[in-house]
């Protein structure tokens, strides 16, 4: 913190708001300090991987929530609600409610089975080291897909705070800070940091909303200014002091914005010039596919699942999920409010593109207060920026821990050097953290033209078609074989990935910058989409066919290879489902060690 005063003076000279810089610096400093502090207390390999399995329900729930609320949640949702209206509400609702599926079908059994990571579960359930390798690939795969939008958020926010700073510098600085933190503190440090960052994000989104609503009118009041008939409007207090501003031509019309099946879900049909009565069924299909991807994807995110192992027992795992749903549910009420206020009072953002457009509404909206109340507005902007920092830093560190865990624990500890000592593995954890951090920064630098929320949605769609079917079926159907599980997971995941990549390529072909030239060969794809809007929707939102396909393949292939069902399947199922008080887990481990000899 010694460097802060000169940095602030410099900032003021360059026309940068010192409050924003101060809040952002404090966020980074506290994160790093907590990481260093806890580095002293995490000594054993168990501490590094799953925090000694002794994190309390309150801490763990805050930490999961902190890790889950990423740049897409903090910045992306408000921007998306402002840009497209009602249809964007499905994102926060499904992000929050996907946890219910996790709670109902997966959380308890997975915790009872007891393993450090999802690959541990995959190997333990099917007695197959090969399947572990496949599962590890998906941890890294979904992980890297999910880090890219976080890096984009970091680069965009830093470029907003320091106008003129190159995008890649922001990515590199944030990446380096988090990587150092994870390498030094391990997961125990990260649990504390994550938990604190949840409350920071909650504060940073709710305080500006309350202040803005006090000045510019509440949630319902602002919605009533949009597309309501005069009769409906007079029922409410009229906001005379702050009337709504004129919308630019680029903004979607009020009626389409506030109604279901608006600009997002009807885009493909509009491109094909379909009449409204033909477009509506396609919009309904789009909505359902989006819901499936988000709900099932939540239940299959590897960096969230690994945290269930930090609960002391299955009862605590269930209580944790309950609290996570409350914590993130409360949070997700706020970003749409900012989106609605943004539509009414900052419509000029509709004219900006990408990071200069509606995506930065969370950071930009508090400046309205600054125009009227001076310093209070600067403080609010500073709080919002601190929240954005907390958002991409916490999600990135969570991803880094789970990917590093996969490399150090699975690739090194199980495949390359099974006879390595705990000290060697801990050293490997640090090296792997630095390596993966570097790759993430490199990838982050490449994705500047892509949209944050869209990339996150793709990571969810891939998780929904790979890990979700694997976990759900493995827990509840004893007839599953390794071949069935692998076939379903690989085909579902890879097809979802291909569909996402095709959509990205055709979108990038429309870009007017250098990316447009690079992806020009994919331009004919857009003409094809215009001819076949249904195929476009199935490609943009693949979950509606990839998830049933993955589950179907799992059933068919498992039936065909039924004699490969693990011999001790009844014991495995008992460990998954019997209450922990019966002590079956220890019995299982003893039998397993006696039988397999490892």
């Amino acid at each position: 913190m010694i460097t802060a005063p000169p940095a602030l003076l410099l900032a003021q000279a360059a026309g940068i708001d010192p409050w924003i810089v101060a809040f952002s610096l404090v966020t980074v400093a506290v994160t790093v300090w907590m990481g260093f502090r806890s580095a002293k207390t995490s000594k054993t390999a168990g501490d590094f991987f799953v925090a000694g399995r002794s994190v309390s329900v309150g801490w763990n729930a805050s930490a999961i929530s902190g890790e889950y609320l990423s740049a897409a949640s903090f910045m992306g949702i408000a921007g998306m609600v402002m840009a497209i209206g009602y249809d964007a509400l499905w994102y926060p609702v499904c992000y929050a409610c996907g946890y219910l599926f996790l709670l109902l079908f997966i959380a308890g059994p997975l915790r009872r089975f007891g393993a450090y990571t999802i690959p541990d579960f995959a190997e333990g359930r099917y007695d197959s080291p090969l399947f572990r390798k496949i599962a590890v690939c998906f941890v890294l795969f979904i992980g890297f897909f999910y880090t890219m939008p976080q890096m984009k958020g970091a680069g965009t926010t830093l470029a907003y705070i320091f106008p003129g700073l190159p995008y890649w510098v922001g990515v590199a600085v944030v990446g380096a800070v988090i990587t150092l933190n994870v390498a030094l503190g391990g997961m125990k440090g990260i649990t504390l940091v994550q938990a604190m960052q949840y409350w920071m994000k909650m504060f940073a989104i709710s305080v500006p909303v309350f202040v803005l609503a006090a000045v510019f009118g509440g949630y319902g009041e602002n919605l009533s200014a949009i597309a309501a008939t005069p009769a409906e409007r007079t029922a409410l207090v009229q906001n005379v002091e702050h009337p709504r501003l004129e919308l630019p031509a680029k903004a979607p019309a009020d009626e389409a914005w506030i109604s279901p099946f608006g600009p997002l879900t009807s885009k493909a049909a509009k491109a094909a010039n379909l009449p409204p009565e033909e477009a509506r069924p396609l919009s309904l299909l789009y909505t359902y596919s989006l819901i499936i991807a988000l709900v099932c994807g939540t239940a299959g995110l590897p960096h969230i699942l690994v945290r269930f192992y930090t609960n002391p027992d299955g009862v605590a795992a269930k209580r944790t999920t309950m609290w996570v749903m409350i914590l993130i549910g409360v949070f997700y009420v706020f970003p749409p409010v900012i989106g609605v206020l943004g539509r009414n009072f900052m419509p000029e953002l509709y004219n900006g593109l990408g990071a200069k457009g509606t995506d930065k509404i969370v950071l930009e909206l508090p400046t309205l207060i600054r125009a009227q109340y001076g310093m209070l507005g600067s403080v609010l902007s500073g709080i919002a920026c601190a929240g954005a920092f907390a958002a991409f830093m916490s999600t990135f560190s969570g991803l880094l821990v789970s990917m590093t865990g996969a490399v150090a624990h699975d690739v090194y500890g199980r495949m390359l050097r099974p006879d390595s000592t705990p000290e060697q593995r801990m050293k490997m954890f640090k090296f792997a953290a630095i390596g993966i951090g570097a790759v993430s920064v490199g990838l982050g630098c490449c994705v500047e033209p892509l949209e944050i929320n869209f990339m996150v949605g793709q990571a969810f769609a891939i998780a929904a078609a790979s890990y979700f079917p694997l976990l759900f079926m493995s827990v509840w159907w004893r007839g599953m074989t390794m071949k069935g599980a692998a076939t379903g997971m690989l085909s579902g995941g890879v097809l979802a990935l291909l569909a996402a990549a095709l959509t990205n390529a055709s979108n990038l072909a429309l870009d007017k910058g250098p990316m447009g030239k690079l992806f020009a060969p994919f331009a004919p794809l857009n003409e094809f989409w215009a001819q076949h809007p249904l195929l476009r929707i199935l490609c943009e939102q693949p979950a509606i066919w990839t998830v049933p396909l993955a589950i179907g393949l799992m059933i068919v292939v498992s039936k065909a290879t039924a004699r490969d069902v693990p011999k001790d399947i009844r014991m495995k199922m008992l460990v998954l489902h019997a209450p922990e008080a019966l002590g079956l887990k220890n019995e299982y481990i003893q039998e397993h060690q006696a039988g397999a000899g490892h």
Partner: protein
């Protein structure tokens, strides 16, 4: 391999086919019931939006009905389902433990 059903030993009872089948069935019934309550609302809302757009566009305190349901009321509904599930599920586990020990 089926365990001998006549064994009075509690350990063997736990390992029997019927105990596991009962255990999984009861848990699955509870989970599926809660999931249905959730899915009816989640998958039903787009359908109601589709079939009765005029009703869902009615204003309630400034919100359209559809916005109020999705943006605000959905969260407490899901909390209620999960609260119910956790209570029932913990009670179920307690009764399973007792049953397994008694026999």
């Amino acid at each position: 391999m089926p365990q001998p059903q006549t064994a009075p030993d509690p350990i063997d009872k736990i390992h029997s086919e019927s105990f596991l089948r009962d255990l999984m069935r009861r848990q699955l019934v509870l989970s599926t019931g809660c999931a249905l309550a959730f899915l009816v609302a989640l998958l039903g809302l787009p359908l109601v939006n589709y079939l009765a757009p005029a009703m869902m566009a009615r204003r309630v305190g400034g919100f359209t009905l559809s916005w109020l349901v999705l943006g605000v009321l959905f969260f407490p509904y899901v909390w209620a389902i999960s609260f119910h599930f956790i209570r029932r599920s913990l009670a179920l586990e307690a009764s399973e433990v007792e049953e397994a020990r008694r026999r």
